[in-house]
Symmetry: C2
Subunit: 154 residues, 2 copies
Amino acid sequence: MTDSRLNQIVSKIKKMGYSLTPQRVEIIKIVSESKSHPSAAEVYNKIKESYPMVSLNTVYKNLSMLSSLHEVKEIKTMQNSVHYDGDVSLHGHAICENCGKIIDVQINEPDFKKFFENKIKGRLTENYHINNYGVEFYGLCDYCYTADPAVSET
Amino acid sequence: MTDSRLNQIVSKIKKMGYSLTPQRVEIIKIVSESKSHPSAAEVYNKIKESYPMVSLNTVYKNLSMLSSLHEVKEIKTMQNSVHYDGDVSLHGHAICENCGKIIDVQINEPDFKKFFENKIKGRLTENYHINNYGVEFYGLCDYCYTADPAVSET
DNA sequence: ATCTATATAGTATTTATTATTATATAATAA
DNA sequence: TTATTATATAATAATAAATACTATATAGAT
Ligand SMILES: [Mn+2]
Ligand SMILES: [Mn+2]
Ligand SMILES: [Zn+2]
Ligand SMILES: [Zn+2]
């Protein structure tokens, strides 16, 4: 991850009165550098390489804290577990319904924003206060599509 | 729910070789008539009114079977539980990040399809086989926005 | 260097979901 | 209608993700 991105997160953490621990910094780096949208368990396995005594609880606490600061995004998948995305820029996800693999779908940001803001206007039956939106594409990754004929039939 | 919608689901169930039980029919009716996007536990509480001996397992099995037949849609929310939508037509959801309440966002279908199909073209870094897509709007419902000042600050 | 509040590690608990198994029942055919 | 058979159900046990608890450690401040 870039230094400026790390500094940005660090200063937000300090501004909010949280303290900076080595585990916390490492979790930020792992989730920000990963392109695989890892689960908490996967972040835990990764951080154990540098901090063997870290607890899973610490990973969960830090990921949900970063999420509350909007510095990571949570992604819900089938196989009910939460995955984390260190890329908080506006983009979509394609999710494999068989193995859960998540890849990014880059979408032209102004188009995306315009579409959503136009679409939501006057279409809510209740007065919701929207501050974020997301889009997911569901299907099969190429591996699952070719490897397992059973799952590719509809 | 309309008779024709029920018949449509019933005939698909028969065509796929599944049998028709009173519990199954009642679950279909409950999830199809509900506008609240209930969880499995909520469907369970509802069906107990008419079938007090029903088991939660039966509810789960039927909901996931209906999902595999594409006659209900699954919605993942925060507070890690799955919710079910008997309206399988193309529409979005606005989800309250505080209480989990889900409401529909009706979007002009041709627009929606066109946008998504245009956007996905050539933008996937891998060869995914997409067969479905969804959009969610995250924020606060009016109740949570006004009632709990703590959650409405960003 | 000391103090204090927060973070962490280790463990226990909760909760949603799935698996197991014996019984009941829907579908089919005699 | 009755008998047969395969699937569905109810009841229970097991799994796995996430959260709660608590004593110790440590970051940040004095
Ligand atoms: Mn992403
Ligand atoms: Mn809906
Ligand atoms: Zn896959
Ligand atoms: Zn709410």
